[in-house]
């Protein structure tokens, strides 16, 4: 079955931008994902939750091309992309804000943002717009990114991803290690970002946060999908069962 067109080509539902089917991901001999399915439609905000080691980051690394997979396991707008290199996937309009931010230490704040636009994709996001979104970055544009606070670094990481004018932006644990007030200010920027028509996958440990920003939620447990549903409809019991397996 190539890219599941038979299911999604119908009139009932538009074709998803991203469809993952029966994805098995491996780190060497270690298997981290088992037959994961996920579909994302344009303009959606999807939350992925799960305990530590459930496979959330592996899923992000697989979609972004940092992990090689079966080519047909991941499809983008109907085309298989599972075995493409990360730079090829970035050029298609899939951006990742990686866990732990991982800014380039030898680049200044502004250079980190500029290199995000390396793909040359056209769209609403420019250096100017990023500075409007996070004014503090403009003040510190020429400083090495390592001198910034954690929250400011996270802003650079998000700005860096936006600079590629992505269709899909994946954010992996963007609140990890940040003070609650900082998390709040970063999430406050999210609606403005999404209103540009961006599709977003949010990986979060904070379940309440994840549910409040997303329309659908997928829970992973030990490398398998344990729950799928609409964020407003899932119950606390369902989540705790899917999350902890009890």
């Amino acid at each position: 079955m190539k890219c599941g067109k038979s299911i999604w080509g119908s009139k009932l539902m538009p074709e998803p931008v991203l469809s993952i089917s029966r994805l098995d991901s491996h780190y060497g001999d270690f298997q981290a994902l088992y037959g994961v399915d996920l579909t994302v439609h344009e303009g959606e905000v999807i939350a992925i939750i799960g305990a530590n080691g459930a496979g959330k980051t592996t899923l992000m690394r697989s979609v972004s091309g940092l992990l090689k997979n079966r080519h047909e396991a991941i499809c983008w707008k109907g085309q298989p992309i599972g075995a493409l290199r990360a730079d090829q996937i970035a050029a298609l309009g899939i951006a990742l804000v990686p866990e732990g931010r991982l800014l380039f230490a030898s680049l200044s704040v502004e250079e980190n943002l500029i290199i995000g636009g390396q793909t040359g994709r056209k769209g609403p996001w420019t250096l100017r717009r990023i500075y409007d979104l996070f004014p503090v970055l403009e003040e510190r544009r020429n400083q090495p990114s390592t001198l910034l606070s954690g929250g400011q670094q996270q802003m650079v990481a998000i700005g860096r991803a936006l600079m590629s004018n992505p269709v899909l932006m994946m954010m992996d644990e963007i609140s990890l290690g940040l003070a609650p007030v900082v998390i709040k200010s970063i999430y406050a920027a999210l609606p403005g970002i999404v209103s540009e028509g961006l599709t977003v996958i949010v990986v979060e440990q904070d379940i309440a946060k994840a549910l409040s920003v997303s329309s659908r939620v997928t829970c992973l447990q030990e490398g398998r999908v344990s729950l799928e549903g609409y964020s407003e409809a899932v119950t606390r019991e369902e989540i705790s069962r899917a999350y902890f397996g009890i």
Partner: protein
């Protein structure tokens, strides 16, 4: 006055060593690769220049216009077709593959050009000299030194002021994340090697004008370049220039004491600095 003269000549010689070293320093900075064939590629450049300037009747200095892009292209292809397959956590494959390349280049030159020493003839400029008070300085060594300064300034500019340099630094920091930015690592590495061999081409031409060369001299050029890099401190291009100068002075002063001590003195100063300042004089990189 003789000693002052030795130091001046050594400083100028250091410019040549900095040119040997700059390409080595560059690829180590971008991809942590140490190219054992680097010295043989310098010698290869000298032979390519020899052939081109003979065929076209060009002054070797002018033929740089052709040799530099030619060597850059060779570097790009070498990286994309061979060396990229060896890049990873294990240092053994790149080391042994570049070692194999070194032996291949050396012996291919032996087959093509024989073991007879050759020299590049740059004309009257070779013997021209300008007096600075009591010391006379050759025009050619002066050109070499100025070129070294210009080349290092240019590399510095590329590294810190251009998109390519940004890509180099980003890839050097985090290869995987750089890939997420849409940078093709294989291409970035290819460009780094191309740039390295462009510098190597310049170094090879100056080597061939300064002294006679044969296919076997590559090894010691690699060692001189390597010593300049380590003396100056990893990851610091201006430091590499200083390292080259220190090495050059050590050699000319050593030769002043006894002709047989020239090279030895350079090695001993290198080992001494390694003993006292293991990270070099101006380290920047871990």
């Amino acid at each position: 006055m003789d000693w002052v003269n030795a130091i001046v000549q050594g400083t100028l010689l250091g410019g040549l060593y900095a040119l040997f070293a700059a390409g080595l320093s560059l690829i180590f900075g971008v991809m942590r690769l140490v190219n054992i064939a680097h010295g043989d590629l310098i010698v290869l450049s000298a032979y390519v220049t020899l052939t081109i300037s003979a065929a076209l009747g060009l002054n070797p200095l002018l033929s740089l216009v052709l040799v530099v892009p030619l060597m850059a292209l060779l570097g790009y292809l070498m990286q994309r077709l061979i060396l990229n397959r060896t890049m990873g956590e294990d240092i053994l494959p790149p080391l042994l593959v570049t070692f194999g390349l070194s032996v291949i280049i050396q012996n291919a030159l032996l087959v093509g050009y024989s073991a007879d020493p050759q020299k590049l003839n740059a004309g009257a400029i070779e013997t021209a000299a300008v007096p600075f008070g009591p010391i006379t300085v050759g025009v050619m060594p002066l050109i070499v030194f100025v070129t070294a300064v210009v080349v290092i300034a240019a590399l510095q500019w590329i590294f810190y002021r251009t998109a390519l340099g940004r890509a180099f630094r980003a890839t050097s920091d985090r290869q995987d994340i750089a890939q997420l930015m849409g940078l093709n690592r294989a291409h970035v590495f290819g460009m780094a090697m191309a740039l390295s061999l462009a510098v190597t081409a310049v170094a090879g031409v100056f080597l061939g004008i300064r002294t006679s060369f044969d296919p076997a001299v590559g090894g010691s050029r690699l060692i001189f370049g390597f010593e300049a890099v380590i003396i100056g401190g990893l990851g610091n291009l201006w430091g590499t220039l200083c390292g080259g100068v220190i090495l050059g002075i050590a050699q000319t002063v050593g030769a002043k004491i006894h002709p047989g001590y020239q090279i030895l003195a350079g090695h001993l100063v290198f080992l001494l600095i390694l003993a006292v300042r293991p990270r070099g004089l101006f380290p920047r990189m871990d």
